[in-house]
Amino acid sequence: MIGNAPFFVVGLLFLGGLTAIFIEKNLIKIAIAIGIISSAVNLFLVALGYRAGGTAPIHFLAGERTVMVLPTPQAMTLTAIVISLATTAFLLSLIMLVYRHYGTLDVDEIRRLRG
């Protein structure tokens, strides 16, 4: 049960982020919610690769311990972090441009493309 705790946290974070995207009106808060979702996914990947009592997955440094955590999810997480950094930066610059054009960050008022 306690071993599954990280996955509950992942679920809570993910749902929290998703809810925030739907109910928040401010674009900056929506960008933060997307960041929370990315963090939840990264946590999910890292938690997948964890083995109880494992060491860092470096073969020559492991010493007498033979249990290692999985390296692949860590590599995946690093890549996913870089990607989410890029998209967050892009999203924030878009929000800046939106503010410049529309003078507001309220999603209900940014409605030129309809129908």
Partner: protein, 521 residues
């Protein structure tokens, strides 16, 4: 060393090189930049054609990145492949050919179309990155790499949709696309992680060989289908698509059409090659079929009322994606039923796959023609246009060809693929054909409207100075017109050489898995 073996890697290296060389080459001036954009797109197209030829001749091509040799998928003592593997079967090769034709046409078109604007170094860079992401999605054999290529393609397309950043609408469209797409790709990553957690593998073929259809797999499948259906613009998640297509520069819209097909490719790859015969029951196929029907019908009904030309064409994209979902969904429905497959399922899949080719070509052509109108007149709204046929005869001719093809008028290629879909889905349920026919009629109605208002009628005084667009744009449209006419004039050659191997490859799950796992299913 045989060059043919390294084609999958070359296919990705060339646009990647172009993306990073672009800012440097642009310092050398306008001509060099255009040479880079068109030249490298053309080389990519050549490599794609060579790859397609070698796959047709020699079966599935696998390419291992970072291994001792290029085709060592399973190093000795390993039960699962550990390296990054590209896997190109006939369906991937077919998609790669479609995508690189669209990319080449868009590049040719953009040389003249974009020349009035600044920041073209970044434009060329992003254009190549988008091509790279699209081609990567089509040839990768690995889930996590698929995610990475989705993200490369997405980030490049966010930037390109917002390229005219002084237009509020462009920023809004890009923002909408970014929000939807970002949540979608995170959900895709969760699915990839879930499958990794269960099977300790990221390779599609390796997971496919081990797959047992349980709760975890159902969750992962739903997540993947939801994400990829969103990225290809299927009905309930389509709202970003007309905005993004309409606001992107036209050469990019043409490429974005091909990128959405790459997502459709991913959807089909997961359904057929990963789950395949394990896809218990008919729920998922029916879900895909009904998404297709809803996309077709609602897409076209929303398109009919539009009066901004690129937005109208964008809504037609939603409805055209429905045809492919319908055809391939019917194929998926009868995947385990050999009799049904031979009777009508395989025809439906051929129709769906042929429609992918046709759709990429004529939809790209329509976007380019709409861009040509915008370039020549500066107008986006149909109500302000009229009498352009006198001033722009070549654009008019190519627009007519594309419009006839998308409406499914015989003898154009759109008719052939639609006919294959009509006659085969009729066997599942006649109502499917009724919706498809109705959609086709409404498509025709809508394009008659566009043609009549934009090109026919009396000459307007504001358009007396309008001239035919420059040659680069005409050549860009010409490439796609040639592709449409080629598929129109030689339908049986296209069907037997281009489409049928792709359809066969898609249903051959054991072959796809065996190419990586060494025949051991």
């Amino acid at each position: 060393m045989n060059w043919n073996d390294h084609l999958p890697a070359l296919l990705l290296m060339i646009p990647l090189f172009g993306a990073f060389a672009a800012p440097l080459v642009c310092l050398l001036g306008k001509t060099m930049r255009n040479v880079l954009l068109v030249g490298l797109s053309f080389v990519t197209l050549l490599v794609a054609l060579l790859l397609w030829k070698s796959v047709l001749a020699g079966g599935i091509a696998v390419y291992v990145m970072g291994g001792e040799s290029f085709n060592l998928t399973l190093p000795s003592g390993m039960a699962l492949p550990i390296r990054i593997i590209m896997e190109v079967d006939a369906f991937s090769a077919f998609m790669v050919v479609c995508g690189s034709i669209a990319s080449f046409a868009g590049a040719l078109f953009s040389t003249n179309y974009m020349e009035k604007f600044t920041g073209l170094g970044r434009f060329v860079s992003l254009y190549f990155l988008l091509t790279l992401g699209m081609l990567g999605m089509m040839i990768t054999g690995d889930f996590f790499n698929f995610f990475i290529f989705i993200e490369i393609a997405s980030i490049a397309s966010f930037g390109l949709v917002a390229f005219w950043r002084d237009r509020p609408e462009a920023i809004e469209a890009s923002l909408k696309y970014t929000l939807v797409s970002q949540v979608g790709s995170m959900i895709f990553l969760i699915a990839a992680g879930a499958l990794y957690g269960k099977y300790n593998a990221l390779n599609i073929a390796a997971i496919g060989s081990l797959l047992q259809f349980g709760v975890m797999e159902k969750i992962a499948l739903v997540f993947i289908i939801g994400t990829l259906a969103m990225k290809c613009g299927s009905f309930p998640m389509h709202m970003w698509l007309p905005d993004a297509y309409a606001e992107a520069p036209s050469g990019v819209s043409c490429l974005l059409v091909a990128v959405s097909q790459a997502s459709l490719y991913g959807l089909m790859r997961v359904c057929f090659s990963l789950y395949g015969v394990n896809l218990g029951g008919s729920f998922i196929p029916w879900m895909i079929i009904s998404m297709g029907l809803a996309s077709m019908f609602f897409g076209v009904t929303m398109a009919v009322v539009q009066h901004e030309i690129k937005r109208l064409i964008g809504y037609h994209s939603v409805s055209q994606v429905g045809y492919m979902l319908l055809g391939l969904g019917v194929g998926l429905l009868v995947l385990t039923d050999a009799h049904g497959m031979a009777e009508y399922g395989f025809t439906a899949m051929k129709g769906g796959i042929f429609h992918i080719f046709n759709y990429t070509m004529y939809k790209g052509l329509l976007f380019l023609a709409a861009g040509a109108i915008y370039y020549a007149t500066g107008k986006r709204d149909l109500n302000e246009m009229g009498g352009l046929a006198r001033r722009m005869p070549f654009t008019t001719a190519m627009f007519v060809i594309a419009a006839a093809a998308i409406s499914g008028l015989p003898p154009f290629n759109g008719f052939v693929s639609k006919l294959l879909i009509y006659e085969s889905v009729f066997a599942v349920h006649p109502a499917l054909t009724v919706v498809a026919l109705l959609t086709s009629v409404l498509t025709l109605a809508s394009f008659v409207k566009v043609f009549q208002t934009a090109f026919l009628g009396p000459e307007k005084s504001v358009f007396t100075g309008v001239r035919e667009v420059p040659s680069g744009m005409l050549f860009g449209m010409g490439v796609l017109t040639l592709a449409v006419l080629g598929a129109t004039l030689f339908p049986s050659w296209t069907l037997s050489n281009l489409v049928e191997p792709a359809a066969k490859a898609l249903v051959d799950q054991a072959g796809y898995i065996g190419a990586v796992m060494g025949g051991g299913l």
